[in-house]
Amino acid sequence: MKQVTMTIDGVEVTVEEGTTVIQAASELGIEIPALCHHDAVTPYGACRLCMVEIIKNGRSRLVTSCLYPAEEGLEVKTGSEKVLNVRKGVLELLLSRCPNVKVLQDLAASMGITKPPFEAENADEECIVCGLCARVCRDIVGVSAISLVSRGTHRKIATPFEETSNVCIGCGSCAFLCPTGAVKLEDVGDKRIIHNWKVEFKLKQCKSCGRYFAPEAQLDYLRRTLDLPEDHFELCQDCRVETVEDV
């Protein structure tokens, strides 16, 4: 694949065409903050934290590094005054929305923001509406149990009609990717509960050790998508291993 060379904060880097600026930066060990971005999921450009300043044939411009593709001869500044102003402003807004979310507090602190400048509507709010959960559910897991609903300030993530989802498989990828811990998932005994989607799943029990190791719905989904044999999930992730000799 075609290679392109560009400079990020003065350092030159060569990457495959199609790589995004944020990926290129991380190859240089420059970590650009981002909350709505995850390598596995198609970039979205919603949180605006990852904005960087690019200089292209003399003209400077702010772009989201999670979306902007690496270009030959591109000059990128990840910490210019303009960039920091936006990043700071965004963090102020996010912290004011969710004053009690650790990730945001830390990021804010690193930008010198000590307390939320605006009053929170609901101090317990943890969701920043980055949409990662909905996107991973639709694009990667492939069940589309949840989606972004309504718009503007009322925007939130929900199941259809905010009722119990009948397609959710309880895989928990939404919780796994959620940057703020807003997706509340817990395994209790033989049940997995995801409170946000009002769902409850029976966990499969391991024939050998008796541990409840994964939601039956998820295993069933995996069997269908990967077409695996009926009895493929009799043993848990650990016990199945003992059935094979090391090669």
């Binding site: 990667i140 928990g172 291993v241 094979v244």
Partner: protein, 639 residues
Amino acid sequence: MNFPEIQSKANADWKGLWESDKPLIMVGLATCGRAAGGNATMAAIKDELAQRGIEANVISVGCVGMCYLEPLVDIVKPGRPRISYSHITREKVPELIEDYLVNDNPRPDLAVGTIGEDSVEGIPKFWELPMLKPQVRIALRNCGMIDPENIYHYIAQGGYSGLTRALGMSQEDVIGEVEKSGLRGRGGAGFPTWRKWKEANRSKATPKFVVCNADEGDPGAFMDRSVLEGDPHAVLEGMALAGYSIGTPNGYIYCRAEYPLAVKRLNIAIQQAKELNLLGENIQGSDFSFDVQIMQGAGAFVCGEGSALMYSIEGKRGMPRVRPPRSVESGLWGLPTSLNNVETFANVPSIIVKGGDWFAGYGTETGKGTKTFALTGKINRPGLIEVPMGITLREIVYDIGGGIPEDKPFKAVQTGGPSGGCLPADLLDTPVDYETLTKAGSIMGSGGMVIMDTDTCMIDVARYFLAFCVEESCGKCVPCREGLPLMLDILERISQGNGQPDDIERLQQMGKTIIGGALCGLGTSAPNPVLSSIRYFREEWEAHIRDKRCPAMVCKDLFHYEILSKRCVACHRCLWSCPTKAITGHSLEAPVINQARCTRCGTCVTVCPARVSPIAKYTGKGIATSDEPQALEEVTVHG
């Protein structure tokens, strides 16, 4: 019927087919077409027509060579040019018939191109397509254009007029034409065809034999198969011409058992030719008689070698013998024999009809005419092509082949099969003919051309071909029987990460010895893949031996997979589908690969749904522990 009458009938039939008020539908049903579901398509077409009560002529044709477009269906509608449609699977048939035959919408979105004078809006001209424009079709002239099971189709294209013309010429004149054409053996070595014939003609002993070598053993080459399947009469006519030139009624075709369709079509063709007295006793009233028998090989690569082939026709073990004497003096049953390969024969009729000078008009000083290649490997448009000698590899790879998939960098092209070699990117502008290829360390061979990108490991390729030769060696001579396995052992240990510093030199030494000492063509060329690989890709060999690295990440013992947790969504598809249960981890965790149990089968990579796959490949320093991957070279596998 005399030949003129046959011809006029043929032309009439052909005209009737094309100028009939019924649509003409042609389905590509060579092996590649069938593999792509051509038979189902054919059936579906017949059903659909029946259901709708549409009258049409439906025929099956051979392979046009564009395997990547199969199944191919051509439709000729009255008053419209012939339109080629690609990927017409069973499901697509109804809509195509509905739209084009019923509603006269030519569906440019499904069409590849139009063949013939007029054009259709939105559809390019078939022969103007980038992959066809640089091609010149002589041996393949009829492939995909006619029904190979209908001799009249062949005759309508001017078939057998070469033979009938020759019957009015002296043997010397016929050989003279072939000499003028500069035609050389297409089987690999490139020995001038006319000289074989002249010598066989001169030699006093009788009976003499004409043998067609259709024992296409080179893995990844299939042009002989396509010619036999798509235009069997061209080969028969060529053989008859050879028979006439050297003066013998005896023809043999030695065909691989793996080519049942070719054998079937040859049988039909021979039958039809005999019925029209274009083969058999006193062809067209002349005193020249010629008959062809088909012998089926039993799948031994070595039998591609002349002497071995003839032994096996005689019913003996297919082992080469020392030469001289060459087979033109003492071949089959010790009698004068002219052995040529399929493509060589397929060229002859045109030479006789259009003249040797016409044929010599194509190609280079040393290599006249055209050559067919089976273009395969990491290429966008794999298939069968026929190009004038002297065309550059670049033109073949990029103009005709459409370049490398995903725009990956070109790494090497392998020609000549197990006897050939790999040429690197900086030789892309080499004009293709016998001498240049040999000079570059490969050979023309029968026409296999395998394209490789940066995901191909040259050591692995060399190992593959060497293993092939070890398999196929007849075991008669020591250098081949004993030497090749020793070389193979060294390659094995190199790809396992146990290479010794002097292995490269050792391999080169052994290679020279075998080339010098082996008995037949198989042995003397078997080291080529290794030697050319070392010649052009030495640093890759050293990476394997010195750093225990496989840059292409192919050699299973030299790379490993790891799951980067920050890229993982914990969907556990990989965990549960890993065939060796090498992936572990609990629900809501990013799984981990147990390197001891991982067999590098890559299943995890294929099932991972992530946009940027979290499963990274590492090579070098043996198996790394996941806490120090940055110490290693990482290649991200794009999901």
